[in-house]
Every structure is written in structure tokens, then in C-alpha cells.
């Protein structure tokens, strides 16, 4: 991945910063040019909550190119406390221990390395909340 391409998504993928429609309040993650609900193009900055629960998940056994060394790993859709859904990796839990409805929280982790001289890509993943 090119450095600018990685860098420009840092506010979203690493800090959970996105936008909220100034007219109707719809939260959009990722940000959009126009609100899909009301058509407004006025947005304000919005920080997503860092906790939520796991809505669904899969354990990837046959990975896409670039992720060959990592299976089995867990991809999930998390429902954050404000209702926003987000796709990410679920970490710090074994595939056989992961459960739908599990409470999870955001944690900053390495996603993948581009090879010997490429960039190391980091982003928010989600891990089970430790009780």
C-alpha cells in the first residue's frame, strides 16, 4: 500500500474519527460527501465510541494475498455503543473462544506488513472486554 493512501485514512481507522450529519444526525462511517438519509452535505466531526458488542464474525482459513502468514484470524462486524457498525479484526481471543454478542473494546494493533521494505500498517482492532 502506498504511504499517502495509508496515511489519509489514519483518522478513521486509527482514531475512530468520522462525521455526523448536521441536518438529521445520521452518523456516517466512513465519511460520505452527502448524507444517504436526508441528502445534506453538511457534516460535523464525530468520535465513535470505543466499546460495543460483536454482531457477527468469521474465522478466515483461506486468506487473501498479503495475509498468508496470519490464518486463522477473526474478522467481525462490531455494533458500537451508539449503534454504528464497523468491520474490523477481532484480536486477543482464540477462534474457538469467540462468541456473537461478546462485549468488545477498541485496541490499536498492527494489521499487516507490506514485506521487507514496505510500510507496517496499524489500525484499531477489537478485543474482548476484560472483566
Amino acid at each position: 500500500m502506498s504511504v499517502p493512501r495509508y496515511w489519509r485514512e489514519i483518522p478513521r481507522r486509527s482514531r475512530l474519527e468520522t462525521v455526523k450529519c448536521s441536518e438529521c444526525g445520521t452518523i456516517s462511517y466512513p465519511p460520505r460527501a452527502r448524507c444517504g438519509k436526508c441528502g445534506s452535505s453538511k457534516f460535523e466531526n464525530y468520535k465513535l465510541p470505543e466499546k460495543g458488542e460483536l454482531m457477527t464474525f468469521t474465522v478466515v482459513r483461506t486468506p487473501p494475498k498479503g495475509f498468508e502468514k496470519m490464518p486463522p484470524y477473526i474478522i467481525g462486524v462490531v455494533k458500537l455503543e451508539d449503534g454504528t457498525l464497523i468491520t474490523s479484526q477481532i484480536t486477543d481471543v482464540a477462534p474457538e473462544e469467540v462468541n456473537v454478542n461478546m462485549k468488545v473494546e477498541a485496541v490499536f494493533r498492527k494489521v499487516v506488513e507490506d514485506g521487507d521494505s514496505g510500510i507496517i500498517q496499524y489500525a484499531i482492532k477489537f478485543r474482548p472486554v476484560i472483566k
Binding site: P30, V60, R61, P64, E68, I75, V77, T87, V100, V111
Partner: protein, 384 residues
Amino acid sequence: MRKVAIIGTGMTKVDKHWKKSLKELFGQAGIEALNQTNSPAIDALIVGNMCASDLSDQNNIGALLADHLGFVPNTAYRVEAACGSGGAAFLAAYSAVASGMYDVVMTGGVEKLTDGVGGNTTLSLGKAADAEYELFYGSSFVSINAMIMRYYMKHYGVPREAFADFSVLMHRNGSRNALAQLPFEITRETVLDSDMISDPITLFDCAPVGDGAAALILCPLEDAKKYSDDFIEVAGIAGATDTVDIASRESLLTFKSTVTAADRAYKMARISTADVDIAEIHDTFTITGVLSLEDLGFCERGKFHKMMMNGAFEPGGIVAVNPSGGLKSRGHPVGATGAYQIAELFLQLTGRAGKMQVPDASVGVAQNIGGSGSSTYVTVLRRV
């Protein structure tokens, strides 16, 4: 707008065509389609394809294929909407004829997945998903649909075996299709015991990787008799979209693009689901097939298994679903799949579907999805 007819079709077998290139495959389908007519001059070629730039290092496919088929200097271009490319190309071709811009248009799709090496094919197909917010985390096309399947199973309490039975039905249908990539019957155990790709999706929940091309020739309905004795009216057609990333949707239990496109296409054709005899639906994975049945209005939500086991989706039931074997058994040459579906309906409605023939079929629906429901093209064909 003018009414539009299909006057000829051609399809290659879906297979791993190691010896044939992209243009040879489409050439074969195109010539077959021309031979079903009295070979009118083609004013434009509009072809669907997804992966050629990744896997065959080839863009500019419109001109390449127009040259191969001797259509130079007429208009030619490629349409891309991931796995929905064939359906999208058909919609563009329909619009071109209906509007009066062109009279005779060849459309269709071609895909050459076996030109990909190593993980390149998986990567290329994965590009149907959102690169920044899905692929970035190591999602593949399969893993996104696996998450939808798990959610569906939990929400409705549907057991995993029910999906295996959908695959069994597709293979039973496809065993009668000479052009199918996997023309053999399987059992529930074949699906359950096959390799786990991305839980809960196993290998036999997935459409196979293969090459293929399908071509269709369109003209104004009022001119159809001039070119062919067998022609079928395109009675309704619509495309619709949804968000590319699934997390931006209100529900993971429906592909709204299918609901919207079907609603618009049925209205245009002035039909209801009860009028439909055959449906060629987009079952990239068993879960995709099940959601499609529901979104097209053929099945109560969460209830497919009992209905299916009672024959609801076979001839004589509610609707004959994928007599071709669908993506699961006929195969899924991605950018060509939408064209295959429409070509198969054309053969059914003209009574030339051989062992696959659904008796007395007069209305058929094709549903072609791009990505995981991010776009859908629904086409209604009617015997005239």
C-alpha cells in the same frame, strides 16, 4: 422508449479453459449468437468483465473484442460492476436499443479467472468489497459473506445443514446442464465435509472459479422477426445499488439492492412474483442464494428450508430456481454470469433448454449481483 427483444445467444461451457484466451472465449460465444440469427450488422458491442486488468493484464476490452469479431469501426466498450458486470452491460445495451441510439447491439460478458496466478484471483475477486474499510483488515469476498451467513443462521435459528441442501439442489439441476462447470450431483455430506474456507462457509457453499463467455444480441422488438424466428421480449429491467461495505447497512439480513431492482423490474413488466415460471438467481454462496430467494419475493424470510424440501423451487412449485445449476454448479465466470443467466432464460423461453427444460415457461427473471449486494440487476423476459 422502444420495446426490446433478444434474438440470439451463445455460451461457452464454463470451465478451466487453459487453452483459450479471453478474446477466443468471447469470440466463440459471439459467433454462436450471430449464427442463431441471420447475422445482422452489429452497431455496438457492450461487454461485461471484472478481472481482465488484474489477471490478463488487459484493459480496453471493448475494442479488443470488436476487432476479434470484425465489428470495427463500430462502438465498443466494457462495463464493470464486479460480479454484476454482465447484468450491468445488458442494462446498458438494453438502454442503447430502447432509446433508439443503436438498432442491433451485441452484449454479454467474458471472464478468464484461470489467467490468475497464486492468490491473485482471490485478491482480484475481493476487490468487489470496500478496499479501505473491508479488504484492509484481511477480509475476503468469502469472509464478508460468511459473516452474513452466521448472522442469518443465528437470527432465524436456521441450521447449517439447510444451506448444504440448497447446494445439493443446485448440483442436481446442474447435472442436466451440458455447459455446467460442475455437472454432477452431491450430497449434504459433500458440503459439510468439504474444506472450511471462512467459518461457516465451506468449499461447497461457494461457486467454483472458472472461465466462460456468453453473448446476447438485442434489437427493437418490432424488428425481431427480420433477424430470427425465435425471439423473446425484455419485459422489465432495473438496476439498484446499496453501500459497498456491509457495515454501513441497516440490516445484514437483506440485500436492499435486490429488493429495489426487483420491485422496479416487476412493475415495468407489469408482473407479480406469481407470474414468474423460472428464476436464475445469483448464488455466489449458498447464503447469497437464500437471501436472493427472499429478496426477490419467492420465499418467506427464514423459511426457505422447509419450502425447498417441499419442492417449492422446482418446476411445478412456486418458481423453478436455477434450472441451469446456478452459480454453484453451472459456474460463476464473474463478469459473464449475468449474461449466462439471461441466455439460459432465453433458451428456456424458446423451448430449447434440452434436459433442463421447464415445461410451459413463459416468464423468466434473472438476478445478477455485484459485490455482496452492493448492486443488483434484475431482468424480466417474456415469451411473445
